[in-house]
């Protein structure tokens, strides 16, 4: 039995980044196509059809669909017996640096104090890695390259607990109204309810990892997702903020129990270019792409191949 080498894993993850920035997951493509069919505003329809042209072209030609290839965040679910667990952090940094050159992706890691761009998408705490250590010897990993325009309009709101669900809805509606056309709608809204300030924001981002076709398993939360989906679309912001029926493609919510005195709501806005790729990797180097319908990650070619 062969064992997965460091080089193989770096290579597969680099291709995973390329897959993410050049090809949208099927659920996002479907949601945009459905929005196009439904849309009654002619300007909005024109924008949605050009978005479909753009993601079709980027996938066919293997080029980033958007020039802002975002900040790289990794969501890691690693078995405690996965053979490369000890060097995984440096592997993720290496794959990020390599992808900057061979996809290529735009260097987006800037020192907040000096303004200096590191040039390779790595820096202090970046790429950010979310760790989850589980039983077993597999690695399940998601890369989320999220654009700056949509991160800019994300917000944490502290709601008075007495206002309950009404207060949560008000916080979300006001945030998306203020965001207007800035996060490149139609957007996906990830919402984290409860926990604490940091937990709510983190849950909002984790909510973005769930496919748009799946509602939350808690029926009360699923109902809130559906109601907010309809209410946000009736704001009329529309694609790129020029009006229309389609402001959001989906609303995904996660929640945690909260302190009696606080009700934090983390609202994470994600542009239509909702890019992510998920790979499952076994210790003997079998790699399955979970996020996209492609049989083999090595069918994704890098620059110069």
């Amino acid at each position: 039995m062969t064992t997965l080498s460091r080089e193989q894993l770096v290579d597969a993850l680099t291709r995973g980044i390329k897959l993410a920035v050049t090809s949208l997951p099927q659920d996002v493509k479907d949601a945009i196509k459905q929005a196009y069919e439904r849309e009654s505003n002619p300007v909005a329809k024109k924008i949605l059809s050009s978005i479909i042209d753009n993601f079709t072209l980027s996938e066919k030609d293997g080029i980033p669909m958007c020039q802002d290839t975002g900040t790289i965040t990794w969501f890691v679910k690693v078995g405690k017996d996965f053979p490369l667990i000890r060097e995984l952090e440096s592997i993720l940094q290496e794959a990020t640096r390599k992808a900057t050159k061979v996809v290529p992706i735009r260097p987006n890691a800037v020192d907040p104090l000096t303004g200096k761009n590191s040039g390779d998408n790595t820096g202090r705490f970046i790429p950010w890695i979310n760790w989850e250590i589980v039983d077993g010897d597999d690695l399940e990993i998601t890369v989320l390259p999220k654009g700056g325009g949509s991160e800019y309009t994300s917000q944490l709101r502290m709601v008075s607990p007495g206002l309950g669900i009404k207060g949560i809805k008000e916080a979300v509606l006001k945030t998306i109204f203020e965001a207007g056309g800035k996060p490149c709608p139609p957007i996906i809204v990830g919402i984290g309810i409860g926990g604490g300030a940091d937990i709510a924001m983190k849950l909002g981002k984790i909510a973005l990892l769930r496919p748009l076709t799946l509602r939350h398993q808690n029926p009360k939360v699923a109902q809130l997702e559906e109601e907010l989906f309809n209410e946000l679309n009736s704001l009329g912001i529309g694609p790129m903020g020029l009006g229309g029926d389609t402001t959001v493609l989906g609303v995904n919510i996660e929640y945690a129990h909260r302190h009696p005195a606080t009700l934090p709501v983390g609202i994470v806005t994600q542009c239509w270019a909702a890019r992510k790729a998920t790979l499952k990797i076994t210790p003997n180097g079998e790699i399955t792409v979970l996020s996209h319908n492609i049989p083999n990650i090595f069918s994704i070619k890098l620059l110069g191949e």
Binding site: K46, N54, S58, I63, C66, D68, T69, P104, G180, C271
Partner: protein, 197 residues
């Protein structure tokens, strides 16, 4: 919503015929400029210095592209728009001094720009955000680059384009702005929805 296809240099009279919601496609010369290039160009003009490119009749694109240099030639990998409001404080001067006919960006601009568009005969258009691949495909050639000392996103990229679009006119020479209208209607919608919660 009428569709137009223009070649640069674009005439002022053609621009004055346009209304909000019209869609245009442009072939010819597009020049990128964002925050720092705007500031430097306006400063040069006010000091009586020439800038190294001609915007008159051409397209000004708020964009910081992904570029690649192979051997000695540049190519554009992906080139979607950047947020235009960051240029609002200075755009009216830029229009007065350099007379671009079409401004391309995203997110819309405000009152001072709207006034300058009407006075000097230009339109502000949206190229939908994130369409970096589509934009790059319409770029046939990098004609040149100036002010590369500002860094690749901030430099002036002179691009030859073919059928660059869809560019949606959202601010016209008749002082109409889709952005103003949407701000009002979405605010009314918000209040209506909140009152029903």
């Amino acid at each position: 919503m009428t569709e137009y296809h223009f070649k640069t240099p674009i005439k002022e009279e053609d621009i004055r015929k346009l209304h909000v919601e019209d869609v245009i496609y442009v072939s010819g010369t597009v020049i990128t400029a964002r925050d720092q290039a705007h500031r430097r160009a306006v400063q040069f003009h006010e000091e009586g210095k020439e800038i190294p490119v001609t915007f008159t009749g051409n397209v000004l694109y708020h964009c910081g592209p992904i570029v690649m240099k192979q051997d000695d030639s540049w190519s554009v990998v992906s080139a979607g728009p950047t947020t235009s409001t960051r240029m609002e404080y200075i755009e009216h001067k830029f229009i007065e001094y350099f007379r671009p006919r079409v401004i391309v960006g995203k997110g819309g601009m405000k009152e001072k720009t709207l006034e300058a568009l009407s006075k000097y005969g230009a339109v502000y258009t949206i190229f939908p955000g994130g369409l970096g691949a589509l934009a790059a495909k319409s770029i046939k050639r990098v004609v040149g680059v100036e002010w590369i000392d500002l860094g690749t996103p901030e430099a002036l990229w002179i691009l030859e384009v073919e059928e660059f679009g869809p560019l949606i006119v959202t601010m016209d020479t008749h002082r109409e702005s889709i952005h103003k209208v949407i701000e009002k209607t979405t605010s009314e919608n918000l209040n209506r929805i909140l009152s029903k919660l």
